[in-house]
C-alpha cells in the first residue's frame, strides 16, 4: 500500500481511539483530551488529501479546524469549570442531569 492509504487508515485508527476514550474514561478532563484526539485525526485526513491532490483546499480546511478547536477548548473549559462546581466532582457518572 502506498503512504496515503496508510495515513488514511491511521486517521481512522486515531479517530476510533479518541472515540473509545470519550466513551470509556470517567474523568471529565481526560474525556476532553480524547475529543482533541478525534479532531486531530480529522486534521490528519485533510492534510493527507491535500498532499495527495496537491491543492490548497485541504490545508485551508485545517485552519478552520484549528479555529473551531480553539473556540471549543475555550468554551469547553469554562463549561467544565462550571459543571465541576455544580456537581463537586470530575466523575462523569455523577453528572446525571440528562437522565430520562
Amino acid at each position: 500500500m502506498d503512504k496515503y492509504q496508510f495515513l488514511i487508515t491511521l486517521a481512522g485508527v486515531i479517530f476510533s481511539l479518541g472515540l473509545l476514550g470519550v466513551a470509556v474514561r470517567r474523568n471529565l478532563l481526560v474525556v476532553m483530551m480524547c475529543l482533541e484526539i478525534m479532531l486531530n485525526a480529522v486534521v490528519l485526513s485533510f492534510v493527507t488529501s491535500a498532499s495527495r491532490s496537491n491543492t490548497v483546499a485541504g490545508a485551508s480546511m485545517t485552519f478552520f479546524i484549528y479555529v473551531a478547536a480553539s473556540c471549543e477548548i475555550a468554551l469547553a473549559m469554562a463549561i467544565v469549570v462550571l459543571l465541576v462546581k455544580r456537581h463537586a466532582t470530575l466523575d462523569l457518572d455523577a453528572h446525571q442531569d440528562l437522565k430520562g
Binding site: L19, V22, A23, V24, V31, L92, D93, H95, Q96, D97, L98, K99, G100
Partner: protein
C-alpha cells in the same frame, strides 16, 4: 296541491298548530281546528272515493324521491285505490266522530290541546300507513302510529302505571316490527322492489320457492300480530286501556289495530303463493278469536272486556285472511269499526257519568239514568254478537262461511269461530246486564251526579249506532243477495283489487254455486248461537245469579288460568328475567372481566413495558449517548458502503 297530499298533510297541520300554540288558544279554537281537519279530510276522501267508484282508476301521487341509489330506489308516493279508499273513509269518518266526542269527554282535562295534537298526529300517521305506495311509506306510518299510541296511552303521564302501559305497547310492537323489517328485506332480496303493485306482480309468476314465500308470510304475520294484538303479541292491548276512552275507541278498536289486516290484504299477492303461511294465519286467527273471547268472560273492568273483544274480532279477520277471503276480512273491519267505536264511546259515556269508575262490580241499574247510552250500547252489542239485521251479522257470517269453504277451510275452523261468536254474545250481554240492569252497586258518593254526557258525546253515539245498524246491507252474503235480488256494493267495489281467489297448492272445501243451502244453514246456526249466548247471559246474570258464582267456584284452576290471561305476561316476565340474569351473571361477571383483561389491560401493560424499556436508554450517562451517536453513524456508513 293535490287532494291526496292535502288529505295527508291537514292532520299534520292540526298537530303542529295545537301542539305548538294550542295551550294558549281558547278551547273552542282548539276544538274547531282539531275536529275540522279530520272533517275536511273526510270530505276530500269522499270526493276522491266517488271518483274512483266510477272510474276504478287508482290515483297515484308521487311526492318526492326518498332514496335514489343504484339498485335501490324508494319514492315517497301515495296510492289511492279501492282498499285505500275504504280504509281512508273509515279512518277519517270514524276519526272525525271520535274527535267530536272527545271535545265533550276531555272538556275538563287540563291538557286539552295536547290531547288533540296527539290525536291529529295519530290520524296523520294512520293515513300515511294506508295511503303509502310502498313498504317504506307503510312502515313509516306503522312506526308513527306506534308512537302516537304510546303518547296517548300514557297521556296522563303523572301516573307511572299508565306510562308503563304505554311502554309495554310500544315494546311489544317493536318485537313485531322486527318480523316486518325482516320480511321487507327478504321481499327486496327477491323482488328488488318495495312497491306494492310490483311486489304482487313479481310473486304472481310463482318463481320463488314455496319455502321462501312461507318465510315471508310468517315474518309479515309476526309484524301484523304485534300491531293487531294477536297471540302471542297481544299482551299490550288490555294494558293499553289505561289511556283515555276515545283513544281506546279510535286507536285500539277502529283503526290502528286493524293495520295488520290491511297489511295482509295489501300483500295478498305474497300470501296467495304461501300456503303454509296462510294456514298459520288462519289457525292463529282462530286461536286468538277463541282465547280472546274466553278472557273476556272473566274481566270485571268494562274497557278490558271490550279490549279482549277487539282482540277476538281481529282474530276472526285474520282467520278470514288466512282462508283467502280478504274481502270478507275487510268488510268485517269496516263494520267492526262502527260498532266497536260505538261500544267504546258508550263505555266512555258511562265512565264519564261515574267520574272515572271502570269496574263493573261498582255499576248496575244505570239503564234508567243513561237511556241514550243504553240504547246505543245495546244496538252495538247486538251488532257485535251477530244478530240480524245489524251490521255484524253479515260480515261475521261471511267469515264463518269462508272458514268452512275457503282454502285451508275446514269444519273445525268454522266450529272454533262459532264458539267464539257464542262466547262474544255471552260476555257482551254479561257486561250489559252487570252495567245497566239489576240493582245498583254504585258507591253512594257517585249516585247523585249520574247524567248523560253533552250533545257532542250523545250525538256521536247515536250516529255510530245508526251506522252499526245499517251498513251491513252494503255487503250481503250470497244467498241473501239472491233472495233480495241486489248486489253487494262493498264487494263489487273491492273486486278489481281483491276477489275470492284461489290459493296455489292448498286444499279446502271449494263449494261454489250450488252450496247455497249449506250457507243458509250455517247462517241459521249462527243466529241461533247468538241468541243462545244472549239467553244464557240473561240466565246466569239476571235470573239465577248464584249459578254464575257456582260455576266460577267449581272452575277453580281453569278460572285462574283464563283470568290471568293464560299466563302470557308471566311467561314474558320470565324471559325478561332470564335475559337479565344472562346479562348480569354471565356477561358482566365473566365475559366482561376477561375482555377487560385481554383487550384493555394487556395492551396497556405491554405499552408500559415497552416504554420503560425505551426510557432506560436515556440513562443520563453522557458517554452512553456519545456511543449511541457513533453506533448510528457506523450503521449509516455501513449502509452507504453496502449500497454504493
Amino acid at each position: 296541491m293535490n287532494k291526496l297530499t292535502l288529505i295527508l298533510m291537514l292532520p299534520f297541520l292540526g298537530f303542529l298548530i295545537n301542539g305548538l300554540i294550542g295551550s294558549r288558544l281558547p278551547k273552542a279554537a282548539v276544538s274547531v281546528i282539531a275536529c275540522g281537519m279530520p272533517a275536511l279530510c273526510f270530505a276530500l276522501t269522499w270526493s276522491l272515493f266517488s271518483g274512483i267508484y266510477v272510474s276504478q282508476v287508482p290515483v297515484v301521487e308521487e311526492l318526492f324521491t326518498w332514496v335514489a341509489y343504484p339498485g335501490f330506489k324508494v319514492e315517497a308516493a301515495l296510492y289511492f285505490d279501492q282498499i285505500s279508499a275504504m280504509m281512508c273513509l273509515v279512518v277519517t269518518g270514524v276519526g272525525t266522530l271520535i274527535h267530536i266526542y272527545s271535545v265533550g269527554y276531555m272538556s275538563h282535562d287540563k291538557s286539552f290541546a295536547r290531547y288533540f295534537a296527539y290525536l291529529n298526529l295519530f290520524l296523520f300517521f294512520m293515513l300515511l300507513l294506508v295511503l303509502g305506495k310502498n313498504l317504506v311509506m307503510l312502515f313509516a306510518g306503522w312506526e308513527g302510529v306506534g308512537i302516537a299510541s304510546y303518547l296517548l296511552i300514557g297521556f296522563w303521564f303523572q301516573d307511572s302505571e299508565k306510562t308503563s302501559a304505554g311502554l309495554k305497547a310500544f315494546i311489544v310492537n317493536r318485537v313485531g316490527d322486527t318480523g316486518f323489517i325482516l320480511a321487507a328485506f327478504v321481499i327486496f332480496f327477491f323482488a328488488k322492489t318495495l312497491d306494492f303493485q310490483e311486489i304482487n306482480t313479481f310473486f304472481a309468476n310463482g318463481q320463488t320457492s314455496v319455502a321462501m314465500m312461507n318465510l315471508i308470510g310468517i315474518l309479515l304475520l309476526i309484524g301484523a300480530c304485534g300491531k293487531s294484538a294477536q297471540i302471542p303479541l297481544h299482551v299490550w292491548l288490555p294494558d293499553a286501556m289505561a289511556g283515555p276512552t276515545p283513544v281506546s275507541a279510535l286507536i285500539h278498536a277502529a283503526t290502528m289495530v286493524t293495520a295488520g289486516v290491511y297489511l295482509l290484504s295489501r300483500l295478498n299477492g305474497v300470501f296467495l303463493h304461501a300456503p303454509g303461511a296462510m294456514t298459520v294465519v288462519a289457525y292463529g286467527g282462530a286461536l286468538t278469536a277463541l282465547l280472546g273471547a274466553t278472557m273476556g268472560l272473566t274481566q270485571y273492568n268494562l274497557k278490558k272486556v271490550l279490549a279482549y273483544s277487539t282482540m277476538s274480532q281481529i282474530g276472526l279477520m285474520f282467520l278470514a285472511c288466512g282462508v283467502g277471503a280478504f274481502n270478507a276480512a275487510l268488510f268485517h273491519l269496516f263494520t267492526h269499526a262502527f260498532f266497536k267505536a260505538c261500544l267504546f264511546l258508550g263505555a266512555g259515556a258511562i265512565i264519564h257519568a261515574l267520574h272515572g269508575e271502570e269496574d263493573m262490580r261498582n255499576m248496575g241499574a244505570l239503564g234508567k239514568k243513561l237511556p241514550i247510552t243504553l240504547v246505543t250500547f245495546l244496538i252495538a252489542s247486538l251488532a257485535l254478537s251477530g244478530v240480524p239485521p245489524f251490521a255484524g251479522f253479515f260480515s261475521k257470517d261471511e267469515i264463518l262461511w269462508s272458514a268452512y269453504s275457503g282454502v285451508n277451510g275446514s269444519l273445525g275452523l268454522w266450529l272454533v269461530a262459532s264458539i267464539s261468536s257464542f262466547l262474544t254474545a255471552f260476555y257482551m250481554f254479561r257486561a250489559i246486564i252487570m252495567t245497566f240492569f239489576g240493582e245498583s252497586r254504585v258507591p253512594a258518593r257517585l249516585e247523585k251526579g249520574i247524567h248523560e254526557g253533552p250533545a257532542s258525546m250523545s250525538g256521536v253515539l247515536i250516529l255510530l249506532a245508526f251506522c252499526s245498524a245499517t251498513v251491513g246491507f252494503l255487503g250481503l252474503p250470497g244467498p241473501l243477495r239472491e233472495m233480495a235480488g241486489v248486489t253487494a256494493p262493498f264487494y263489487d267495489f273491492l273486486a278489481p283489487v281483491i276477489g275470492h281467489v284461489q290459493v296455489v297448492g292448498a286444499g279446502g272445501h271449494q263449494v261454489e254455486g250450488a252450496g247455497h243451502q249449506l250457507e243458509t244453514l250455517f247462517m241459521g246456526i249462527s243466529i241461533v248461537v247468538a241468541f243462545a249466548g244472549i239467553a244464557l247471559a240473561w240466565l246466569f246474570f239476571s235470573l239465577r245469579k248464584q249459578w254464575a258464582d257456582q260455576v266460577k267456584g267449581r272452575a277453580g284452576y281453569a278460572y285462574d288460568l283464563v283470568s290471568q290471561g293464560y299466563f302470557f305476561d308471566a311467561l314474558y316476565y320470565l324471559v325478561v328475567r332470564f335475559v337479565d340474569w344472562v346479562s348480569e351473571s354471565v356477561l358482566a361477571r365473566r365475559v366482561e372481566v376477561g375482555l377487560d383483561a385481554g383487550v384493555l389491560t394487556a395492551p396497556n401493560n405491554s405499552v408500559n413495558y415497552a416504554s420503560r424499556l425505551f426510557s432506560s436508554l436515556q440513562g443520563g450517562s453522557l458517554q452512553g449517548y456519545v456511543l449511541y451517536v457513533f453506533i448510528g453513524l457506523a450503521l449509516v456508513l455501513l449502509w452507504g458502503v453496502l449500497h454504493v
